[in-house]
Symmetry: C2
């Protein structure tokens, strides 16, 4: 019984690696984040680091980085914070300074061809044909045809950072949100995700909720959580920089972790769960380095 | 186009109600929670209310209620709090008072027959044949055969309260956890869920994490969040009681809400998401009453 389980796992592992195309798993388990590609968000109660995703959403990242460098977000508030859903911030202070920020064209999905590869996690996910990771970001994939053309997109998970917008598709500019609850995957492909939290997610979870439940005391807007400062890490004084490495989701070690996570072989699992993985329920590890 | 969409929705709604069996949807949108069936958890930073589930896990609820009435949990700490996963509490203070608490036999799923009904949410969910709600609790269902026999279980979602255990199935007694991140559905059927948070979930999210990431400062155990007190609401002084009503998931109004949530007809959804629902991503509303 145990032997047959083991060989089934090996098969899964092989399938796994061969199915995911051209990019060879590397042996470097960790990937260092470039300082100009991370953001330090200082909240009154703690520090948060965001990894930006210019490879997926270049224009959103460029605009967000520029606004960050201008001090645009400093002292703005999280004005729409719904428990289990999102914490949204931006200038909603009467200054109307957001009106002068250019609107962005949606970057919520992209075309792929045969050369595109990712680390596959799950087929027949509830919301997508396939899910997986690319550069430590959760992605979903859908084939367009048998010629290897398809679409891929970053998928909403807890810790996702995305740009808010009005009803029109291309209406995002500066207001943004963190996902703080169960993955709102129905927002995939219609909102531009441009980053993810890699440090201090507990402080994002502790942001003051702005909407009280019916019958409860209203939340005073003076209690809304303020952004003390938002800076590109490369602009932060050296002594205050937070250097982060994240798990390399293209590594052999990560692939092995997925296989283990799916199989749940430990004694604790006296009855095995279904051998499936929710891409948003796989923590991508970070570590702090000097 | 709009007309055909509407009739499709009506069909879905009819299917919905007829598919879910004997229990008639009522017209009462809200259900008042009995005071002896709710628990007031006072944390240093806020108040939390838990709805217990004696109809699903009678022995776990009985033991938890008894321990609560004995003041067993007062001054104990959340000693295992992992961001995006769980916040676990119990006496881990050297007192060893947990050793005298009887072990509980697992109550993680139950047999159903044709007479069992629930409000169905989704077929072919990633982790289960079917998902839905019963008495405002998220449930999953699996048919055993064509004769209408099956199994149902409470499913792990954010806000779920369940009893912790050792490796052995029937080893739970007093330590318990809240789910604070993306639903760990792989714990379904092997852990006994016995309640859910109906008020103050933001305070559960703000519990001090106990595990620091690699390379970061260790968290001092003196900073771990303490339970100030845990009481059955029926034992709380009248002036301090929190009375809660929750959405009646057997109501017509709730069924209609599900249909709308699946269809996403608003202008904001300029491109429609897949018409599926994650049972853990449907907030069950609470409201506070006098």
């Amino acid at each position: 019984m145990k032997a047959s389980l083991k060989s089934a796992l090996t098969l899964t592992a092989l399938f796994f690696i061969s199915a995911c195309g051209a990019e060879k798993p590397t042996d470097s388990t960790w990937r260092k984040l470039a300082l100009q590609n991370t953001v330090l968000l200082t909240l009154p109660h703690g520090k948060v680091v965001i990894e930006l995703a210019p490879q997926f959403s270049p224009k959103h990242v460029a605009q967000f980085s520029q606004l960050t460098q201008q001090g645009f977000y400093d002292q703005t508030k999280f004005y729409r914070v719904i428990d289990g859903f999102v914490a949204q911030a931006g200038p909603k202070d009467g200054s109307k300074k957001d009106r002068s920020v250019p609107l962005l064209v949606m970057e919520a999905e992209w075309q792929t061809d045969k050369s595109w590869s990712y680390t596959q996690v799950q087929e027949k996910d509830l919301f997508a044909e396939k899910t997986g990771f690319k550069d430590s970001f959760a992605v979903a994939y859908q084939a367009d045809n048998d010629d290897g053309l398809g679409k891929a997109w970053l998928t909403h998970c807890p810790g996702t950072v995305a740009m808010a917008r009005n009803n029109e598709a291309d209406s995002a500019s500066s207001h943004f949100y963190f996902v703080i609850g169960q993955a709102p995957r129905y927002l995939d492909r219609i909102m531009t995700i441009f980053g993810r939290v890699v440090y201090g997610m507990q402080h994002i979870q502790a942001i003051q909720r702005t909407e009280a439940m019916q019958g409860d005391y209203a939340v005073d807007h003076r209690d809304f959580t303020k952004i003390v400062s938002m800076q590109l890490m490369s602009d932060v004084a050296k002594a205050d920089q937070i250097h982060i490495e994240v798990e390399n989701t293209e590594s052999t070690a990560f692939g092995e972790r997925l296989v283990k996570r799916r199989a749940r072989e430990g004694d604790f699992f006296y009855k095995k769960p279904p051998p499936v993985l929710d891409v948003c329920q796989i923590p991508i590890r970070s570590r702090r380095i000097k």
